[in-house]
Symmetry: C2
Subunit: 443 residues, 2 copies
């Protein structure tokens, strides 16, 4: 039974490797690049990985380095990558539920124990519809705003609108503007549309389905939906307020801005850190304190089984709930009148520790092959692993070995986390006996 | 019953506050300072806290700023602080065992359920004897070496020997030499004696008692002893090898040194990071990679219920064992044929998360009131919280508010951790019912 279940868990990494390979080959073609001849292998590989893993880190400017063909390839890779991670992780989640004999909340009508073709089709159809609906709406809003508000000709506005709508819903953070979205830093309409797409795409499929089914009855939401929504709201709020505080101080980036601009840019930055990666402000000019806070938000990331990266909001919240329960002296970790299964805590912990190890090793490597500061390097590796794509501006200046490290981190962060999470949930080895208990001293 | 148990847990912080207060007052006296008049309040408070919490961070040079009287006060505070934390945490540990109805491994002969005066006396006596034995032996070795090897007159050699022997056993890291132990960077005898004192003092009383009783029968060691010894050996080994690697590279600090010096200084640095805090090399000149590794070693610290700080070796190992068990798919966290109690994991996790929060807040504050880099500031706050005392050299240049933050971190790291650990172990609130279980998605 085990082998048949591990098959799909292996399928996701293989599919991503295939997509990255195809993308690399396409970007190597001379027609993808504006300059003479084809690009080099590292640039093509890095860009394809960044697109498929919906990260958005770039070593060459998307708008000037790549031709419309190259940009279309990147856009296609983003759509494939985003759709792939959303369907892949959702189906693996269904699989875990089946294997553990749990009632599958995701597709409640199907109660059989095997993942049949009907389920797969249903999941694909719902995700496809949600993707198209959101992307079309945001595309329309952006194109209209760019045409009427910024005097872009219709074909240009439509192309930019399409690119950013897809890039936003898939939390990719790629932009056809050289300065990302900094030119829109006071435009509530543009940044607002982007934020809506980012949040819906990044909140995760299980939450979307749950909301669609029981939108008016919050009492019937699953625990996962509740803690994801609560965590998302809390993180956006805390992020906004802290960025406002640190950057509004004398010498901060918001010093010359109006109140409305400060609010918009703080909110936008807070939402984008988890994990869309567009920026309306210059990341390299932020206070070190803001960068540290951004690091934490990036590490946590968005919702499970969506287009967002990071360790996921629910993973972080399970850990926080456990600590809170321990402080209150309660034996069970509880939230919203539900008890969080004890093995879920250990899964969350394991995922977080593995993520920290990956980021630490990446940081050590970047430190040893560059002269950049710890601030810059740590920000870059967390951004890569959590597939955020924000940068203090050092990406293009990294040596090839550091770029390969980032490629590895992006892949591990995107595909590794859900593969490991699936593996952790499924793997059970039974001992025929239990060892006697002992209590080592803690602290 | 609860209140009578919380009394001793409150006694430890109160005793430390009292010792720091007395120390501050004594250091404020004009006879404590070589310069004219008494010192200022911040300097006295900082130095007294650093001494009582056996941290070793200094904002004025111990050898030139303080008179022999001032140095004697510091030495007395170190001895009181080290003895206090060792007896305090040991007695709190005994208390937890009693409360939870566990067989007390520490003082096996007493099997009654209340902590009677006999136990306290026994613990105090054993700790006193161990302290005196080690300190006397190291004192003798150091004084002899300083007299015959470095031509120090007997009174000077005896004073320096006494100061460093007490400072080492109590993991304090204070030195009467302005450059800490950098002048002995090639002296296996001096650094070796210091290391022995540091390791014995920092391994923790429970391990010492266990070893004394069953030294030749490792099979009868407690799980705590086994994982503390294993963890200590592993951390010393990993630390030594990594420091050797990073600093032996071209441009590293060890570049001009002989093999013997490299080995000695790497080993010494690895041992001192957890958490004695003497240095035989210039910390400010270390590679950023070495500083990051040092951060991790400092955070982990030494053994429980000894003079060492940090979250403790056993705490870190419980977490690592849990992650390892999860990766193997085992339901129980096991080691050496024993099962680690499940609530111990949540206690360890809580302690680590609280430590990270304290360090993060301290780091954010120091970043916002100084212009030092994240490397420097993070190193300083971890060093303070884990009561290590190593510094990249910024301590003396911090503004008063930052110094007060370090004072707070030293106190929290020293007294807060064991108080919280005791609280976590003792607090049990019982619900009359359990909530239904749910499994939020992780990753
Ligand atoms: K992204
Ligand atoms: K120390």
């Amino acid at each position: 039974m085990r082998s048949s279940l591990q098959q799909p868990a292996r399928l996701v990494p293989l599919a991503f490797v295939a997509a990255i390979t195809v993308g690399t080959v396409l970007l190597l073609l001379p027609i993808a690049r504006t300059g003479p001849g084809g690009t080099d292998l590292i640039t093509a590989l890095f860009t394809a990985t960044s697109a498929v893993c919906v990260t958005g880190l770039i070593i060459v400017d998307t708008s000037s380095y790549w031709t419309p063909f190259g940009q279309a390839v990147i856009l296609a890779l983003i759509q494939v990558g985003g759709f792939g991670i959303m369907t892949g992780s959702t189906l693996l989640g269904v699989l875990i539920s089946r294997r553990l004999g749990l009632r599958t909340r995701i597709i409640a009508q199907a109660e059989t124990r095997t993942l049949d073709l009907g389920d797969v089709t249903a999941v694909l159809r719902i995700i496809l519809i949600a993707t198209l609906l959101v992307e079309l709406a945001v595309w329309g809003a952006l194109a209209a705003r760019l045409h009427w508000g910024y005097a872009e000709a219709w074909p240009i506005a439509i192309w930019h609108g399409l690119f950013h709508s897809i890039s936003a819903f898939n939390n990719a953070g790629f932009s056809t503007y050289a300065d990302s979205l900094m030119r829109f830093s006071d435009d509530w309409l543009v940044l607002g549309s982007i934020m809506v797409a980012v949040i819906i795409g990044g909140i995760g499929f299980p939450v979307l389905v749950d909301l669609r089914r029981t939108f008016r009855r919050p009492g019937r939401w699953s625990l996962h939906t509740k803690i994801t929504l609560l965590g998302t709201a809390a993180l956006i709020g805390v992020g906004t307020i802290t960025v406002l505080g640190y950057e509004s101080a004398a010498g901060g980036l918001f010093d010359p801005l109006t109140i409305s601009e400060r609010l918009l840019d703080a909110l936008f930055h807070s939402v984008m850190t988890r994990t869309a990666g567009f920026n309306s402000i210059d990341i390299g000019a932020l206070q070190t304190e803001t960068l540290m806070l951004t690091n934490i938000l990036m590490f946590i990331g968005g919702g499970s089984a969506g287009t967002a990266g990071g360790i996921k909001v629910s993973t972080a919240l399970v850990l926080i709930l456990a600590v809170w329960a321990q402080i209150r002296g309660e034996a069970d970790t509880t939230a919203f009148g539900r008890r969080v299964s004890a093995d879920i805590l250990r899964q969350a912990l394991t995922l977080i520790v593995l993520a920290m190890i990956a980021i630490s090793l990446g940081t050590l490597h970047l430190l040893s092959v560059t002269t950049f500061s710890l601030e810059q390097v740590l920000f870059e590796t967390i951004s890569a692993f959590a597939t955020v794509g924000l940068s203090t501006g050092i990406t293009a200046d990294l040596p090839p070995s550091a770029e390969l490290t980032l490629v590895t981190l992006m892949f591990l962060g995107r595909v590794g986390t859900i593969t490991v999470a699936t593996g952790l949930a499924l793997k059970r080895s039974q001992r025929p006996y239990r060892f006697p208990e002992e209590r080592p001293i803690v602290g």
